[in-house]
């Protein structure tokens, strides 16, 4: 087994000296496409051994073995020759590989991955050093491949602090918790329509893996995940991640899940399980709303995704979705209608509130996990507030959130009772009628008592302000409309 320790550090040290790499996000992008090609190459050699005549979709000169691997003569391409090859041959070729809708997924993913990829490095010698480190990985070996999967995860985790790329990464403690509580079963199909780096897909697989007993099981296990990711960079990371998890055919598509009319979805488009952390505050063109019924058309992408989920969850299906506080307390018209539909047609049985620093440093916004299924309308909803564990003031790079921090929630899950701490609700149930009529769909219950004022990042603050303002404006408009109705209509 080659030396995996210090893998990330070695790459970082080499790339630090290249003028083309500006910051963590670019460094990770650079590593990403190289790793993808290396992992794909390992997979291809497996497929070649499978017996049938395997034709690589990549032309011979561009395959990893031809230009990246250490040549036996020790004369592997380096320096300007290498740079020239990468920029003027490799990338243009891979970006324009002949693929179409009928191409098998394993061929299509190469072009999809490289469509927007970039080579940032400007020093051919340093690039050769980086390639050598990556080539040194022996991914044929099961142990090493598995160990590397962990390292890959740690590379992905760095995205959280790499500026805006943090939106592609959900901490694994959270995805593991959700995958566990959703209780996967062999034979089920799960989906994530904004899968980012594939955290929910891999957490689901980790949980489901425990149930695989036969080859038939293994086949169903391999076919159980489905993902859509709009942005090229996380798409590449996700595909690589799944290939590392031994999925031959990662069913992840480089598309925008919001661009299909929700009313067009049929049973075939529906899934038994949906796990998601939809992006919020996302930028979409205004006409994306045209794909939704008018009453559900929101400007907030998280709201639109929730609608997509409602239209794509199979009968008796289960879902767990991360949504920000703004969704819980927001009462603008679209949100009200979405919540009305959610409580009216789905069973929102649990809302877990998470503390503010779960996604830090990417954002300090407080988020929540909504668990619901399609077994009928909501009868009652349980709210549970997960408090910071002992000894933690907040999560950080050095003190990240771990699955074990969810233990109190997991214990409470099967033995639910109302709890209160220092006079503040921690766990409480509300009937659907209370939520609809008394609380008017304000789902911001069992929240965090504000001991220390949370300072939000400027953009988060602006977003919160806009949400509150539109909720309040909507409320004012509603009241005025009702008053007008009384004044005009009911003159008695």
């Amino acid at each position: 087994m080659s030396n995996l320790t210090g893998f990330v550090k070695r790459l970082r040290d080499i790339m630090r000296n290249d003028a083309g790499i500006n910051g963590d996000a670019q460094r990770i992008e650079q590593i990403a496409w190289l790793l993808f090609l290396k992992v794909y190459d390992t997979k291809e050699r497996d497929w070649e051994l499978d017996g049938e005549e395997y034709q690589s979709v990549i032309p011979e000169a561009c395959r990893w073995g031809s230009w990246a691997a250490e040549a036996p003569s020790g004369a592997a391409m380096t320096g300007d020759k290498l740079l020239n090859f990468v920029n003027n041959t490799l990338f243009p070729t891979l970006k324009t590989l002949p693929v179409d809708a009928s191409s098998p997924v394993r061929n299509a993913i190469v072009q999809a991955t490289f469509a927007d990829a970039n080579n940032y490095m400007k020093d051919g010698v340093l690039l050769r050093q980086v390639i050598n480190v990556i080539d040194g990985l022996n991914l044929d070996d099961y142990e090493e491949s598995h160990a590397f999967g962990e390292i890959y995860e740690s590379i992905l985790k760095e995205l959280q602090s790499a500026g805006s790329s943090g939106e592609f990464y959900t901490p694994r403690a959270v995805t593991d918790f959700m995958a566990r509580m959703i209780r996967p079963r062999i034979g089920e199909h799960m989906a994530d329509f904004a899968c980012g780096t594939g955290g929910f897909l891999t957490s689901w697989m980790k949980e489901l893996q425990k149930q695989v007993q036969s080859t038939a099981d293994a086949r169903k296990y391999g076919e159980s995940v489905f993902g859509i990711e709009k942005k090229q960079f996380p798409y590449m990371l996700c595909v690589t991640n799944l290939l590392l998890h031994d999925l031959d055919v990662p069913r992840v598509y480089h598309e925008n899940a919001l661009l299909r009319d929700v009313l067009d979805y049929t049973e075939d488009d529906r899934f038994d399980v949906i796990l998601m952390n939809p992006p919020y505050g996302g930028s979409e063109k205004a006409d994306v709303k045209n794909h939704f019924p008018a009453d559900l058309a929101s400007s907030e992408t998280a709201d639109l995704f929730l609608s997509v989920i409602m239209y794509r969850l199979a009968k008796n299906g289960r879902a767990a979705v991360i949504l920000p506080d703004g969704f819980l307390f927001g009462t603008d018209n679209a949100k009200l209608n979405i919540k009305r539909k959610l409580l009216g047609e789905f069973n929102l049985h649990t809302v877990i509130r998470m503390p503010g620093s779960v996604f830090s440093p990417y954002t300090s916004i407080t988020t929540n996990i909504l668990f619901f299924d399609r077994t009928g309308p909501t009868w009652e909803t349980w709210f549970y507030r997960l408090d910071m564990p002992e000894g933690y003031k907040h999560f950080s790079k050095t003190k990240p959130m771990k699955l074990e921090h969810f233990t109190p929630a997991m214990e409470w899950w099967n033995d639910r009772r109302e709890l209160s701490v220092d006079g503040f609700d921690k766990a409480r149930r509300f009937t659907a009628r209370q939520l609809a009529e008394d609380l008017k769909y304000n789902l911001d219950q069992c929240g965090y008592p504000h001991e220390e004022e949370e300072i939000l990042a400027p953009l988060d603050l602006i977003r919160r302000y806009e949400e509150e303002r539109s909720s309040l404006n909507a409320e004012i408009d509603r009241v005025l409309a009702e008053i007008t109705a009384i004044l005009e209509g009911g003159a008695s």
Binding site: P361, S396, L456, A457, E468, R469, V479, A491
Partner: protein, 470 residues
Amino acid sequence: MTPQALKHSILQLALQGRLVEQRPEEGTAKALYRQIREEKRRLIREGKLKKEKPLPEITEEETPFEIPEGWIWARFGEMSQLLDGKKMQGASHPYLDAKYLRGKSDAAFVTSGKFVSTGTRVILVDGENSGEVFYVPKDGYMGSTFKVLYNSSSMFEPYVLYFLFYHRRDYRNNKKGSAIPHLNKSLFFNMPVPIPPLAEQQRICAKIEELLPYIGRYEQAWNRMEDFHQKFPADMRKSLLQWAIQGKLTEQRPEEGTAEELYRQIQEEKQRLIQERKLKKERPLPEVTEEEKPFEIPESWIWCRLGTVLHKLTDGTHATPKYTARGVPFLSVKDMSSGKLNYSNCKYISEQDHQELSARCNPEYGDLLLTKIGTTGIPVIVDTNQPFSLFVSVALLKFNQDLILNKYLQILINSPLVQVQAAKNTRGVGNKNWVMRDIANTVIVLPPLAEQKRIVSKLEELLPLCGQLK
């Protein structure tokens, strides 16, 4: 539209006869008017009402709006009067003053006064809120600033009360008298009242009741909006400051060096100055622990304690000097609580005293002052060459301004990172105190010098915009 304006416009619709439809079968107000006058004559005969001068006819100009056919205008004094309540003594009852009737105080019991029974309406005739009507919740003795409001039983009382509420501001704004203002009785009794038939009065009131909960909701949403608008600019400012000192406002540029190097430079210079006896040797401060670091900072920055990057940290004189009418300004917290030095109300001391005090505490151009007693944590840059001395309530921070920007330190101290520490460490009774040792121990972040400059200029662009948010 404020909730008050909303309520007012609904009441206006009511009084104009546009809230509910008119129904001919309910009759006209003419008959009602005759009833009102007959009842008044009868009660005067029975001695229950005072006889008064008749009120003048209402002219066209006096009517503020059109009213429906079946309605009639009359003056308020024709249907209502202010009475005294029965003088009684013996039984113990609560004294009904305004505070008690507002529910803001407990009952004080007395045994004599002007008795009024439960359900009576009383009206304030003296004081700020003259014209305001109250409901008597239990038998009691009426406060001296009140009178009993008598309304003709031919009128539907709630309608009359809404009328009075509608004109509340008119009564308030036109009080008579200067020492103790009181209700302008002439305005009060002459006010034209639009009178609908009795049944319609009842329907109008029912409609208003129907709308009250909606007005309540409107008021709630409105108040929350106001609250929000109020807090937002300050919250935005805090957010930007914190963002800046977390290193997120500016990009880090490796060519600018690291804060580690900067810190070393500062320490080396301090050592040298100590050797040259230009600086006093200080007690070393403890390292910043992990728990004390509330957020991540860029790799090129460092955490450290405020005291370690200063050349001198001292406070103004502990003894109150002799003040003079003119001389050298002697400043304390009140002269800089806006964030800038303000000499308009300051004290002065003699030139000689100032020289003595300067030996220990000598503020100079570019230094930073920091309030430490009372309102603590306000950083102020010394932007003048004029000499002045300080009181113990203000600390003086001296540092190498070529290595640390005073504007950066000011931003740093104004940020939540330091403000939270200041608040936590400001202790005591009465005028609270942020002691020198805690100030020195304050945990801060330090970026490379060039980045300090970039942070300062970015914020100079952004912070004024916050001011515009109000």
